[in-house]
Every structure is written in C-alpha cells, then in structure tokens.
C-alpha cells in the first residue's frame, strides 16, 4: 500500500514532465517541403508600436498578394535585437529577412562574411530604379550590396521659430554661410536666450563639419587625419561660447541627451540633428514652443554641396542561411516599391527611399512631415555617401565619440587650448583604432 503510493507519486512526476514536453510541441514548424504548401519565411525588425502595427499590416497585404508565401513576423524592441541576431547568424538560424543597423554593425558583419550579397536579385526581383545611388550606398560595404535601406535621413539645422521671432532675427535659410549663422547667433544671444546647442562634443555633427571642410576622420588606411579640422571646430566652439551663442560648458554637460537639452527645453534657438527627428522635437518642445520647429540645410551647404552626409538607414537584408532567398527578395521589393505598402508604411522607417513612394505620400502629409520630406529631397540632391564613416564604426564608433566629447569638454572648461585638445583627441583615436584592428 505504502509502496503503491510512492510509485503513484513517481508516475505523477513523470507525467508532469512528459506533459510539459508535449504541451509546447516542438518549436520550429516543419519546413514546407511539398509544392502545394506555401513557402514560409521569417521577417524580423525592431521598432516601437507605430512601426510594428504598420509593418504587420503591410505584411498582411503582402500575403494577400502572394498567397504562396507565408511570412512569420518577429517584431522586437531595439534593446537586444542585434544580440539575438548575432546569436542567430553565428548558428545559421537568422530570419530570412531582417532589418539591420548598418551605421553600427555593417562593417563588422560584412568583413566577417556573415552577410548575403543581394546584387543577384537587383533588377530581377528587387527594383532599385527609384532609389538614388548615394542612399543605396548605405546598404553596401566595400562595394558589395547587402541590403536595401528603407529610410532616408540626414543632418540638418533645426530651429525654433518662436525664439527667432522674439529676437527679431530672420529664419535660417538653406543658403546660410557660417558667417550668417554666427551673426544670427549673436543677435539671439542679445535677448538672453542661447542661439544654439553646442555641437563640438558630438561625433555625429563634428564628423559632418569635418567632411564639409573637405576632410575625413579616418582615411582608408585607418589613419586619423582630422587634426586641422578638429582644431578649427574646437576653436569655433570656444568663440561661440564666448559670444553667448552656445551655453557655457557647465550647462551643456548636464543637458546633453535627446530628451533633455536646451533646444527641447526652449532655451536655445538652433540644433543640428537628423531631419527625421523634427516631428519628435515639434511635439516635445516645452510648453509655449510646441509646433514652432523649422528645418534648414546646415550652414555652408551651398558652398560645399557634396560634403554633407545623407544616411540610408535600417536596410532590409536577406539571411545568408535562408532557404527561400527569392521569396525573401520578393518581400523586400514589396516593402520598398509597392504603392500599397508605401501607403501603409508611410514614414514609420523615416522618409521612404523610393522617390515614387515619396511622391505618392506627399499629398496627405502633416506640415512638419512635409518639411522633413523637403529636407530629405534637398539632401539627396546635394549628398554623397561617406565611406569613411563606415570605417569609423569598426572598433567602436562610440569610443571615438567619447574621445571627441571628452576633449571638447576640456576646451570648454578651459583645461586645454583647442589645438592641444585636438592633438590629444587625434592621438587617442589613433591608438584606439590601432588596438581594434
């Protein structure tokens, strides 16, 4: 009797174990081998709610149009996306189609041979006629095309119309030179507000300025060659701080995030930033400044037109180990070029890369979205891709950014002269790159 009892409990344990196994079944769906069954492909991307909803709707439309392809969607947040992707790629288990952070990871992955060259599908399945060459370049590395960018963006001059009105200054224009920028800045500084957010400590903006001066940060032989340009930028920032155009460094260092800076707080009139952030600033500027955003090209753009970077972001790639590459390419083409997809996706990945999609969307855009579209159109007309930017990413662009920031702050705190700080920054960046390569 007693023996029976313990046997019974043992059996229950085993049953629980087995039921747990069968309750979930095996994870991976069986591959659709026979022809009658639709082909199944996986599609992964990161984003927030708006992008998820629109992309899911676009995928539904795709499956209606191509009944022979079933798309399993894998929406995720940004955090952890590339950790998971790295695990999947290294074990040959990546999704058939995935969104990719080209500006951060393209160089590493491409050089490790982990990405699939999609050029075979260009023209046959994927139509790239409506994408300009400069933008498409952001989907490639060292001349090999790995993905089709989905969103366009570029560095622009964002400004707060309300502060300009109060100072009685004219709004920034695309034809502005750096002298115009400084003159307007001094006028605004006289009213007690700051004219601009200090850009000399941010790699994103410093690198644009360096390109504009005709230089690059790192050349193709991995040498840091921006000493002259960086010195000029640090000198200029020091002058702007003295003139009251920039806030003092003590204030810049505590308000230096996208959520918390003097531009968003309505204390500074101008900020360099990606064109696509304009709608965000437009809705998050503090009380009384809502809706007063404007966009212009960066100062000096009219003199050195080819030196401003425009970024084709979030390319869609095909998994190297995908068994259904043609179907994957079909999905990519649909998302990029199909008018129905464009109507659903709108601007969830930034301004669409396809000029046809841009034209078809234009009629029902909000005012600020229209400004972003205009800015991107202008940028794509005057921009060339910057291959050096990709080189920077290798070995951690974040570290280069930290060096530029730390040394720029030392200038602001009066601990170093611009020339000393620039020399130290170049030396540190060089040793960082030497170590990483």
């Amino acid at each position: 009797m007693k023996k029976n009892n313990s046997v019974r409990i043992g059996l229950i344990l085993i049953a629980l174990f087995i039921s747990s196994v069968s309750a979930f079944g095996t994870g991976v769906d069986e591959a659709a081998d026979d022809q009658s069954k639709p082909v199944q492909i996986r599609f992964a991307w990161w984003g927030s709610e708006g992008r998820h909803d629109a992309t899911l709707a676009a995928v539904d439309r795709f499956m209606e149009k191509y009944p022979s392809i079933v798309v399993k969607t894998e929406p995720q947040g940004w955090g952890g996306f590339h950790d998971k992707l790295a695990t999947q790629i290294s074990t040959g288990n990546e999704p058939d189609v995935f969104q990719f952070a080209n500006d951060k990871y393209m160089a590493d992955y491409a050089e490790a041979g982990m990405l699939y060259d999609i050029s075979d599908f260009i023209g046959s399945i994927i139509d790239t006629d409506s994408i300009d060459k400069g933008t498409l370049g952001w989907g490639s590395f060292n001349g090999t095309l790995y993905g089709i960018p989905t969103g366009m963006n570029g560095q622009t001059l964002l400004y707060n119309k309300k502060i300009f009105d109060e100072a009685g200054a004219a709004y920034p224009e695309d034809s502005w030179t750096w002298d115009d920028y400084e003159a307007a800045g001094i006028k605004i500084a006289a009213t007690g507000k700051y004219a601009a957010v200090d850009f000399s400590t941010q790699l994103d903006y410093v690198s644009v300025l360096i390109y504009q001066m005709g230089g690059v940060i790192v050349d193709n032989n991995l040498q840091v060659v921006c000493l002259k340009e960086l010195t000029k930028i640090y000198e200029m920032a020091e002058r702007f701080r003295a003139e009251g155009i920039f806030p003092p460094m003590e204030e810049t260092v505590v308000h230096n995030t996208q959520q918390d800076n003097y531009f968003v707080l309505g204390e500074a009139a101008m900020k360099f930033d990606w064109a696509a952030t304009a709608p965000m600033f437009n809705t998050s500027l503090v009380d009384g400044n809502l809706g007063s955003i404007g966009i212009a090209m960066m100062p000096g753009s009219s003199e050195k037109p080819a030196s401003v970077t425009s970024l084709g972001s979030m390319p869609l790639l095909i998994g190297r180990n995908s068994e259904h590459k043609e179907e994957a390419a079909t999905l990519i083409n649909f998302l990029i070029n199909d008018p129905e997809a464009a109507a659903i996706l709108k601007t969830v990945r930034g301004v669409p890369v396809s000029s046809k999609a841009r034209t078809s969307l234009r009629s029902n855009l909000s005012e600020v979205d229209a400004m972003v579209f205009d800015a991107v159109d202008k940028l794509s007309a005057i921009s060339l891709p910057a291959p050096a930017k990709y080189r920077v990413t290798r070995g951690g662009a974040a570290n280069l950014g930290t060096i530029i920031q730390t040394e720029g702050e030392k200038v602001g705190f009066g601990q170093k002269t611009p020339a000393e700080a620039a020399a130290d920054a170049v030396e540190q960046m060089q040793s960082m790159i030497d170590k990483a390569n």
């Binding site: 313990s6 196994v21 309750a23 979930f24 994870g27 909803d53 995720q76 952890g80 998971k84 999704p95």
Partner: protein, 282 residues
C-alpha cells in the same frame, strides 16, 4: 531609556532612510506611469500636473495583435512548468547529495559548486546550438526541460541551498524511518520533503522571480510574438532610437511588477526563514 532601545531608534531612522532611497526608483516609476508622456523627462516636477489614467488603458491595449494580458498568461504558464520542474529536480538532487552515499560524491559536488561560478552568458552560444539542433527554438522547452534536470536558471544554486537545508535535518529521523521499513525514496517523500517546506518555498520564489526577470534567454530562444513572455512583451515596443510614449510603457512596467511583488510579500515569511536556516546569504 536604556542604550538598547536608543540603538533601536537610530537603527530605525537609518533603515528608513535607506529604505526610502531603495524604493525611490519604483515610486518614481509608479508616479511617472500616471503622468502625461510629454511631462516625464522634460519637466523637473515629481508629481504630474494631471493624473493620466489613460496610460494604463493604453498599456493594456493590444500591440502587434497581442496584449499585455497575453504576455502575462504566457509567463504564468512558463512559470508553472519551470517552478514545478525546479522544485522536483533540485529537491531530489539536493537530497541525493545530502543523504545518499555514492561513489565520487565529493568530486561531483565540487564540480557542481564550481559551475556556480560559470556565467550564463558563456554557455549561451553552445546552448543555442544544442537547442536549435533539437528543434526547440521558439518554444518553452529550453526553459522547461533544463529546469526538470536541475539545470535551469539558478538550478545549481538551488541544489546547494536544498542540500544545506537537508543536512540540518537530524539523521535520526531517517534512521527511525528506515527501521519502520521506509525505502530511500519514501524517506525523501515522507520525511525530508515535508520538513523542507520552507526551503522549497524559497526555491520556488527565487525561481519565480528569476524566470520573471530573465530577459536574455527568453529573447534569444523565443521568436514568435504569440509566445512572448512579459519581459519580452515590455521591451517589444521600446525603441530608444525614436520617439516613444513613456507613460504607457511605464504603466505596463508597473503592471508587470505587481505579480512578483505580491508573491514576494505573501511568501516573505518563508523566504526569510528558508534563507536564515540554511545560513546562506546571496
């Protein structure tokens, strides 16, 4: 007033201060979850200008066709199997190491303890390859099966905990049970298990909280939104590279915090007892 009570008084003031510091982030989250999104990071104020209950309705509404409640349900299903597996397996193995003589016991126990020092991240890729060959990816099997084999999250630590506890139970109880005709398994079932209630509750609680909080493993092994757990569901709509409405996200976080908080508060008595009697702090 004697010195002991005075010490107690200062002790309380000191503990209250530390407590306030510790609880502040949670308090901030709950208050921010009732704040209109655009006020959260931009205004310096602690209390919202208006209480925004719609953050909560927004948080509970469906995202990518699934709502927070689906993710909670998934997590509870996963937790049920993981916790049952962990309790069954770690109590058996702990009992084995504490009571059953077998060859190489000392060496095996040393290896077991040694594996405590091995960070999970190191075994991540090998585990992924193994589970992907077994076709377990995109299911809960990578969590459930290891927990039944005492190698799930915290498995080694739990074996150690249970083992220490069982060692503190007098051996005479086993002897008298054996004289009365109990088999070894019956001793485990009828003597040791009932006496180990407190430590098993501790194990269940730890297992619950660690599985609840586990992001990395769940991120790597689960692809399908239909199978997402709460920690994946919460992160699914967070994209720091674009504009987000923080209010609903923090509201969702507050909701997600409730189960583990209430489970902990309910079982706190056993929890403290279980840790105290094994003489371990972690």
């Amino acid at each position: 007033m004697d010195s002991a009570t005075r010490f107690n008084k200062y002790h309380h003031i000191y503990l209250t201060l530390i407590g306030v510091i510790m609880v502040y982030p949670i308090l901030w989250m709950v208050i921010a979850s009732l704040t209109p999104s655009h006020e959260i990071f931009l205004t310096g104020r602690f209390l919202p200008s208006t209480i925004q209950w719609s953050n909560y309705t927004e948080a509970l509404s469906a995202k990518a066709n699934y709502s927070l409640l689906d993710f909670l349900l998934n997590t509870f299903i996963l937790e049920f199997f993981v916790i049952s597996g962990t309790i069954i397996s770690t109590s058996l193995v702990g009992f084995g190491f504490a009571r059953v003589p077998f060859p190489f016991k000392k060496i095996l126990f040393t290896i077991l303890i040694g594996s405590l020092l091995l960070p999970q991240t190191i075994t991540l890729i090998p585990r992924y390859i193994l589970f992907s060959k077994l076709k377990w990816i995109n299911s809960y099997l990578p969590f459930v099966i290891p927990s039944f084999l005492a190698s799930g999250i915290g498995g080694t630590f739990f074996i150690f905990l249970v083992n220490q506890f069982i060692r503190s139970i007098p051996l005479e109880l086993d002897d008298s049970a054996m004289i009365d005709g109990c088999s070894r398994f019956q001793i485990y079932l009828k003597i040791i298990l009932p006496l180990s209630k407190t430590v098993l509750i501790t194990v269940a609680l730890f297992s619950f909280i660690w599985t609840w909080d586990d992001f990395q493993n769940q991120l790597i092994f689960i692809n399908d939104v239909a199978k997402f757990t709460i920690s994946l569901g919460l992160r699914m709509t967070i994209d720091t590279t674009e504009l987000m409405s923080w209010g609903p996200i923090l509201a969702a976080c507050s909701i997600a915090l409730l189960p583990s908080l209430s489970v902990f508060l309910m079982a706190q008595k056993y929890f403290v007892e279980g840790i105290a009697t094994t003489g371990i702090k972690r």
